[in-house]
Amino acid sequence: MARYYFDVQDGTNLLRDDEGAEFDSLGAAIRGAARSATEIGTDRLARGDLNDVVIKVRDEHDRRVVTVTALMKIEQNVLSS
């Protein structure tokens, strides 16, 4: 078990995680961060908010260990009248 901290960068705001949470492995922390990025992103993209959702994962030594990004993009290929 190890504690990881998920800072969420959304647009220009950084929401720093000071509490963290325990995970069995780094892989489990990455899956948690990925789930969270999709949960946050799903609602936003549907509303037309195109700010990428970036989750920066830190370990107990305050080292950035992984960054998970949900890229938000809507590309219109045919112009509607």
Binding site: L15, A21, A33, S36, E39, I40, D43, A46, I55
Partner: protein, 245 residues
Amino acid sequence: MPQGVNADHRLNRLLAALEPGDFAPLEPHLELVNLTHKQVLYETGDPVTYAYFPHDAIISLVNVMEDGGTVEIGVFGHEGVLGLLSALVTREAFGRYIVQMAGTASRIQFERLNEVRNACPELRQLIMNYGEVLLAQTFQTVSCNAVHPVEARCCRWILNMHDRADKNTLPLTHEFLSEMLGVQRSSVSVVTRTLQSAGLIQQSRGSITVTDRAGLEETACECYARVRRIYQRLLPGTYSTARSR
């Protein structure tokens, strides 16, 4: 009566809705109990021996998934009773009953409650009405969890708790909220920051204070209001919202 418990059985609105003559046969079997924060009344599969009528305590029924993840599937406060309708036949708890807000409750042995109910048509009717409300609340929650955004669900959840609490400051951590909503903790942090920026809630370590109830109702999905209407129709007087108190 346990030491330090100073409450009245009829602080529970279901019990209060009974006429004195219908309440009288229940009263000798009711026992006042203190419930502490995070106390587990039943784990999944535990034999359900008592039904609890909460006063100011709030209890969540939480489903524990195989990977350890959790999601709230029911909530019980002074408007209801737990440990009765979802365990009628097997007498086994479907999930974990955990106290999310400390307080008092009246409890009664399952068999005693059944005996009195069988002899009292008014009590039977009241419990049937509550049963339909509880099922309606569950159906609405299933729909809500399937299609509504985390933000709206979070507002619904805070409102549900606010209705059952006697204060505006609720002891809630992001971790606990994430376990109730079945989402990741970071998702809750992002949502609650948005709600705080909009002036609807004020966060501090370990608690959330409701500062704009009307705003929360506007941000919640239709599910909160629909369930509230069903409560008010089937159990008039037992479900008063925080706004009207």
